[in-house]
């Protein structure tokens, strides 16, 4: 612990410092209360041992200031003084002292008081940690609820859109065929225009006016393009719906054969807006792969987490490369490389721990990679990471073609390695 001593009498100060250092504490000693307060303001102390009677700032005033300082962590304070009457104890404790020790102090008594302080500091620390974890778990829960309802919404919308899109697509094809046929009929009639002009000049003139009104030549030219563009637009709507369905996969609780390439492509579509907003280039290298047996929704979640992290690690103008390949032993590998900020070496061992995040508070729950780790592990696969700070990172997801133990109907485990 970092201990601050405030004692104006040299012999006691020396003795205190000596004992505390022997017990393994880091000690800073002040020769009066004012100096102690200056040191406290500029340092990080968890325990303060102070004499009461000192010139200028006395021990009680020092403790009062410490309590009023509003430090985020608790500071345990021990008043050490020759005063020993009951009233003094009350005054000291009222000011915020945690315990009281009378001088000349007994070494063992001091030791157990320090120990009591350590216990309180430790408890406070644990409590603060638990509070933080609770808040993050709550945020993660809200986040996953949000994702789940988003998935449900997407699936519902997809279903609603699919029906009209299907008959519009169908009708458009019929319309194209029929209009083309009708144009053929029109052409046949137009070949008899000269004869018509002789027999019924009024009718021929009316037809010519109508042709001119609608600019028949342009219409004839434009109609195929119109049909093509409409069909292209419908195809785009179908793709979007398909991506949404692929991603949400709410209808597929069981494992099934999946083409990882299309899974990754669907995921890239989902985050396309983020990629564009950040000005990141996505490079893909997807040779044909055999399908693998997995839980598509869960595996998509893994790619979403890893791809999103890669994109967010990049500075504007950066790139993310996604490669797939088949490795010996029937392993399918998806590699996501970025030239972003990289991961500091001291963070690497904690990467897959739940609640570990380097993102600012409120932006990362610290659950993405730990959930991904659990999913890949349950599929009998592994995630490997290589990273150089300032240069970028590579995440390699290896999945067996047939999962060793596809966790069925299990929630994704939230556990890190080891």
């Amino acid at each position: 612990m970092n201990v601050l001593i405030a004692e104006d009498e040299a012999v006691s100060r020396c003795l205190l410092q000596n004992h505390l250092e022997k017990w393994g504490h880091h000690v800073v000693a002040a020769a009066d209360g004012a100096e102690a307060w200056r040191l406290f303001e500029g340092g990080q102390f968890t325990l303060v041992v102070s004499d009461w009677i000192m010139p200028e700032v006395d021990g009680v005033e020092l403790i009062r200031r410490i309590r009023a300082s509003g430090r985020p962590r608790y500071v345990y304070t021990i008043l050490l003084t020759a005063k020993s009457q009951k009233g003094d104890v009350i005054q000291g404790m009222e000011a915020g002292a945690d315990s009281f020790l009378t001088k000349p102090f007994d070494r063992e008594e001091l030791r157990v008081h320090i120990q009591a302080g350590e216990r309180i500091i430790h408890l406070e620390h644990t409590l603060a940690e638990q509070n933080r974890a609770l808040r993050e778990a709550q945020a993660a829960l809200i986040q996953s609820e949000k994702l789940a309802s988003l998935g449900q919404l997407a699936a519902g919308v997809a279903h609603e859109i699919n029906n009209p899109v299907a008959y519009v697509t169908n009708n458009l094809a019929v319309l194209r065929r029929d209009v083309t046929a009708a144009l053929g009929v029109l052409d046949a009639y137009r070949r008899g225009l000269d004869d018509l002009a002789r027999v019924r000049p009024d009718l021929a003139a009316a037809a010519a006016r109508l042709e001119e009104n609608i600019d028949l030549a342009y219409v004839r030219d434009n109609l195929p393009r119109l049909f093509e563009k409409s069909q292209g637009g419908l195809q785009r709507v179908r793709d979007i719906v398909c991506n949404l369905c692929n991603f949400a996969r709410l209808d597929e609780g069981e494992s099934k054969e999946v083409d990882l390439r299309s899974a990754v492509e669907s995921t890239l579509e989902i985050i396309a807006h983020e990629v564009k907003a950040r000005g990141v280039e996505v490079r893909t290298d997807f040779p044909p792969l055999p399908p693998i047996v997995c839980h598509p929704g869960q595996v998509n979640q893994v790619f979403l987490n890893i791809l999103m992290n890669a994109v967010q690690a990049c500075a504007p103008g950066g790139w993310v490369a996604v490669r797939t390949r088949l490795e010996p032993g029937d392993l399918v590998v998806v590699e996501v490389e970025d030239n972003g900020c990289g991961i500091r070496p001291e963070h690497l061992p904690h990467l897959f721990e739940p609640f570990f995040t380097t993102k600012p508070v409120g932006q990362g729950t610290g659950l993405g990679l730990s959930v991904s780790y659990g999913i890949v592990r349950d599929h009998g696969g592994s995630i490997e990471v290589e990273s150089t700070p300032g240069r970028g990172s590579v995440f390699r997801v290896c999945l067996p073609r047939v999962a060793a133990r596809p966790g069925k109907d299990q929630p994704p485990p939230v556990r890190g390695p080891g």
Partner: protein
């Protein structure tokens, strides 16, 4: 944690610490126990005390001369705190007595109290010097 050296052991191992160590002047066993048998620490504490002692006593003397009771109480209190670390019952009691006299506003007894304290300290200092200087830490 290692057990601090027992006082008896220290006495046997360190018999030449000075003649006639009367426990009311200096309780060596108690003092050695307080510093956990650490002779180096003891030397350091004694050196600090010897360096500070004339100033502390001078402060008390001046307070008595000027009949400044609050100042006397504070000075006696500080001296008591310092001497309290040395297991020196007589000097400690004299300092406490002086502090009590000053607190009670009994100026008449202050001069006597100071004389008693000065005497106790005069008896204590050679003991401390002998223990710290002559004490063989091996």
């Amino acid at each position: 944690m290692t057990e601090p050296n027992r006082p008896e052991h220290d006495r046997q191992a360190n018999p030449g610490g000075g003649p006639g160590a009367r426990p009311e002047v200096l309780d060596r066993a108690e003092l050695l126990d307080r510093v956990g048998g650490d002779i180096d620490l003891l030397r350091k504490l004694v050196a600090l005390f010897l360096a500070d002692c004339p100033r502390l006593l001078g402060e008390i003397q001046e307070a008595v001369t000027r009949a400044d009771l609050p100042r006397l109480e504070r000075a006696a209190h500080t001296f008591k705190g310092a001497v309290g670390n040395f297991a020196a019952p007589a000097a400690f009691a004299a300092a406490l007595q002086l502090e009590t006299v000053a607190h009670g506003g009994d100026l008449a007894r202050a001069a006597d109290g100071y004389a008693a304290l000065a005497g106790a300290v005069a008896r204590l200092l050679p003991e401390l010097r002998a223990l710290a200087g002559g004490g063989d830490s091996s």
